[in-house]
């Protein structure tokens, strides 16, 4: 990281992009930090969603590592203004050497700066522990009282077939079997596909967005200088009452 952070083309190149602010929050920070907590045995909540893990030693260690990139000067001073989009642009402009991103971002960066020589690597994980990544995206929802429920379900079943899921995406199909299609054999996207087996969904909780907001505000406090343990203890005290509500 030290080697990657250097003067470059009359400006400064930073080693790593930390998502610490911007418009698209708290999602962008969550997507980049929750896998780090998971692969270290932590998380925001336990697997059964019954207890808070955000201030556990495992989670705190993961966040300390991530925020450390900023505190040690390997991430840009504008980190608290940078969401995923800002990081992608800074990467495409060659101001940041490494960012965490999705397959969609990879293709957008190639479009923004076709001359940029970039590669994809899977997220490293602590020795002896499992890798982790996070699932994102949108869901199809049919209201129980929908007037044309049967027809809608039939249409969604048609759209969800591996052939159609594979056909109607520009980047990455949401069904594993659709990867067999010829158009999804791009070797540059192999790393993203490899990580899918370790992907976990976010908890399906009604208060999840409030919990992530509490986490994000404490995360920003840590970037502003508060000790990570102290910041995550504050997050835990705000998240705890939301469990089971």
């Amino acid at each position: 990281m030290q080697t990657l952070t250097r003067d470059s083309n009359g400006g400064k190149m930073f080693g790593f992009g930390v998502a610490g602010g911007g418009q698209d929050q708290p999602g962008n920070t969550l997507f980049r930090t929750l896998p780090l907590m998971w692969m270290n045995g932590g998380g925001i909540l336990s697997e059964d969603n019954q207890s808070v893990l955000v201030n556990s030693p495992e989670s705190v260690a993961a966040i300390e590592m991530y925020t450390g990139f900023f505190k040690d000067g390997y991430a840009p001073p504008s980190t608290l203004e940078n969401d995923g989009l800002a990081l992608r642009r800074l990467f495409a402009a060659e101001n940041i050497a490494i960012i965490q991103g999705s397959q969609a971002e990879y293709l957008l960066i190639k479009g923004d700066n076709p001359d940029l020589d970039i590669g994809v690597a899977t997220l490293p994980h602590p020795e002896g522990k499992q890798p982790a990544s996070i699932l994102g995206g949108w869901n199809w929802i049919v209201p129980a009282q929908a007037p044309n429920k049967a027809e809608t379900l039939k249409f969604l079943a048609f759209l969800s077939s591996p052939e159609n899921i594979g056909f109607y995406t520009n980047t990455f199909p949401a069904v594993q079997s659709a990867f067999e299609q010829e158009r999804h054999q791009n070797p540059e996207l192999r790393g993203f596909r490899d990580m899918l087996q370790y992907a976990r969904p976010q908890p399906p909780l009604a208060n999840w967005s409030q919990m992530t907001q509490a986490y994000f505000e404490s995360f920003q406090e840590a970037l502003l200088g508060q000790p990570v343990q102290e910041a995550m203890d504050a997050a835990a005290s705000r998240i705890q009452p939301l469990i089971g509500k």
């Binding site: 602010g21 418009q23 001073p77 504008s78 608290l80 203004e81 409030q210 920003q220 502003l224």
Partner: protein
């Protein structure tokens, strides 16, 4: 005792009153009802109020709101009065300067906010570039990310946006001041500063009372600048009441809690404006 009679005047205002009831009274009543129920419509008493008001962030949100509105109004009035007085003087190119001065007010709020956000950007903003190039600051300042600078920066943008309105009102007020007052003062040896202090400002008092009230109301319900520049961050340091209500309702889908916060905010505004009118507008009448 006079019997109440439904006359032609009442018929004339009836459509307006019906419209007002639909657009104001019904939403207010509905919000109050929502604040005492849960998501399933069950009556929960004051639970939404105790929950939202006991949040540790609520105190900070109230203080931030007062700081933002107070700071903005003081700065808007200060710059606006100065600009209005200057625009009232005779100088070459006065019409052009008067027109140019209106630009910040005319620009749509979201455009102004995004432009300022880029100008304040830590790494690529022109403000840091100019200040570091001139050697005024040793390195970039996180104007919108440093807890000490974020609110002053947002207040400065809000003041920049609205000072032309104040200047315009002051200019209009000054044009109605009779020249005889200035002439009499000059005969007594008054200089320009004496004229400002003893003639212009006292004569402007009714205008300033009304303008201040408008600025306070616009400050209290304005979210565009903060929402688009910082979203209330970093870590809630610039979170104000209207954005908190919006987040509760449309980000967390806690409509009942949002309704409780709205009622509290509404009462705060009513109280503030009632006190203001009682103190200043009453003094004006006297």
């Amino acid at each position: 005792m006079r019997a109440w009679k439904f006359g032609p005047g009442h018929w004339f205002i009836l459509p307006t009153m019906v419209l007002l009831c639909m657009l104001v009274l019904y939403p207010v009543a509905s919000t109050i009802f929502l604040s005492f129920t849960d998501a399933s419509g069950k009556w929960v008493g004051g639970q939404n109020y105790t929950e939202t008001l006991s949040e540790p962030s609520t105190k900070r949100v109230i203080l931030n709101t007062l700081y933002y509105v107070g700071g903005s109004v003081v700065l808007q009035l200060g710059i606006g009065v100065l600009a209005g007085i200057l625009m009232n003087q005779k100088f070459r190119g006065r019409s052009v300067v008067r027109s140019l001065m209106l630009i910040p007010w005319i620009i749509p709020g979201i455009v102004a906010a995004m432009t300022w956000a880029w100008m304040f950007h830590t790494d690529y903003g022109i403000i840091n570039y100019a200040l570091t190039s001139a050697g005024i600051i040793p390195g970039p300042i996180g104007w919108l990310t440093n807890p000490n600078t974020v609110m002053p920066a947002l207040i400065a943008v809000n003041a920049w946006k609205m000072f032309p309105f104040v200047a315009l009102m002051v200019l209009a007020g000054l044009q109605s001041v009779p020249d005889e007052l200035y002439e009499a003062a000059r005969i007594d040896g008054a200089n320009f500063l004496h004229e400002v202090w003893h003639i212009m400002l006292p004569q402007l008092r009714p205008v300033l009372v009304a303008v201040t009230l408008l600025l306070v109301i616009w400050g209290l319900d304005g979210i565009t600048i903060i929402y688009s520049m910082t979203g209330g961050g970093p870590a809630g340091r610039s979170m104000i009441f209207p954005i908190q209500i919006y987040a509760e309702a449309f980000e967390f889908f806690q409509f009942n809690r949002a309704a409780a916060l709205s009622v509290v905010y509404f009462l705060m505004i009513v109280l503030l404006i009632a006190v203001y009118i009682r103190v200043f507008a009453k003094a004006e009448v006297e």
